[in-house]
Symmetry: D2
Subunit: 145 residues, 4 copies
């Protein structure tokens, strides 16, 4: 339950003339990863904006590139929670090529919860914080096991 | 005054593994072209949305690809008005490579004016229609000359 | 066998500030559609380039926009063959929103087969032409049925 | 000579439904910045690939987001060299909004020089290393001044 794998097949539009996935596209994969992660936990980003009037802009992104992904290969994005507070969340990502399982990139992205109108910091939705607590408890449980 | 040239230098991110500008990027260039065209006529898309509460979604796009643009080359987008009505506008584009002046693509994009809330058709802003009339008169004048 | 459905969930990165899928992204969806179509017929674009030394640049693209796709909705791209010759292929696409089945866009893309080095027209790979003939026969069969 | 400013006007395609420049686009701006920086120093990335058979893939990217850029605003990307070795180069970037001069993001990108065929580490081109030495000397000079 703590980690979530999402897949994406690399299109021609995603690679550059070196024939490999362009470096900023990994951040797009990270977005796919964290949206799928939230959905797998029963939480919808869309509702957060539309129903709760909150948004989650990125405050920091980091990516380390280790190997390349090519046209028609399938990227697997493995998403976990690296850290969280009442108003922020930090995701960690690993990107693999599906067939060979070679590790292509690792990264982290931090987001902060803001009100949508007149943006200012706001607590993450309670449903989201409940997921964080459950995930953290799960981590603790695994450490003790 | 009738046509407007905008330039964009092709980045690594814009080309695919054939080493040429990816086909959907031409539509991005067309957006640059029509925004610059409007600005050159004293009209701001941004104001239209924010001040007038209108939007201009694309209803049709067409592109014919003739030659390729490569990394580090400069694309020149030449924008003109192909047709217009009280609620729609149709732009025509030619994309050249700056140095050789070779023609790389031609295209057309049609947009329709809608209200931003509860979208339904709406007349283009009067300031915009005034530009259309001026441009059309200019065209007529050139035909007679 | 004649038509192929591919799906893609709309990311935040894909929508513009009107909150809808940006118009050039439909051409990216079309690429996904035609690559998946070819794969479903047992043909790999990747092999064509790497093994056969051929490429398939787009010569013409057209899209008519009918309705919008929003963040987190799933686009279904339905791909069929509209026409083909010994050196060209023309795909037709319909894009639906998965849940409501509303039609959001229709389009066509034509590609021409070229040699990769010193690009000049070349017959499509025999394996690809065999698929075209099978699909065309299938169409004929359906017309007669 | 040490720093270089490049500008880019934000298109509709670049913003997301929060109405601000999408987070991965900053990495695209960084590419524009470092390409322009190299050109301003008399060095062409294109030649490096085509003439010297070398390439410069990104090995690490980092971005801290401070404020947002909106549609039609002009981004100014300020590029400097943060560090370099015989086979790697690390650029630092600041992104401002042109009119207000507000700082929107800071970042760093590291690239490593590889041979294009059978990629393995290779010294940066001598012309490029000469620029690095000149820039470093310039920095020293400014420190002493």
């Amino acid at each position: 339950m703590v980690c979530q794998d999402s897949t994406y097949r690399i299109l021609y539009r995603d690679v550059d003339q070196m024939g490999v996935l362009y470096y900023s596209r990994y951040l797009d994969l990270f977005e796919m990863g964290r949206t799928e992660w939230a959905r797998s936990q029963g939480f919808s980003y869309r509702d957060m904006e539309e129903v709760l009037g909150l948004m989650l802009p990125v405050t920091e992104a980091h990516c380390r590139y280790r190997d390349s992904l090519r046209f028609d290969e399938v990227a697997v994005v493995r998403t976990t929670i690296a850290a969280w507070s009442r108003t922020t969340i930090r995701y960690a990502f690993e990107v693999f090529e599906q067939e060979s399982q070679r590790l292509c990139a690792t990264g982290e992205v931090e987001l902060a919860c803001l009100t949508r109108e007149n943006p200012r910091p706001h607590a993450l939705p309670e449903a989201f914080l409940a997921i964080m607590r459950r995930v953290a408890a799960d981590k603790e449980g695994r450490k003790r096991a």
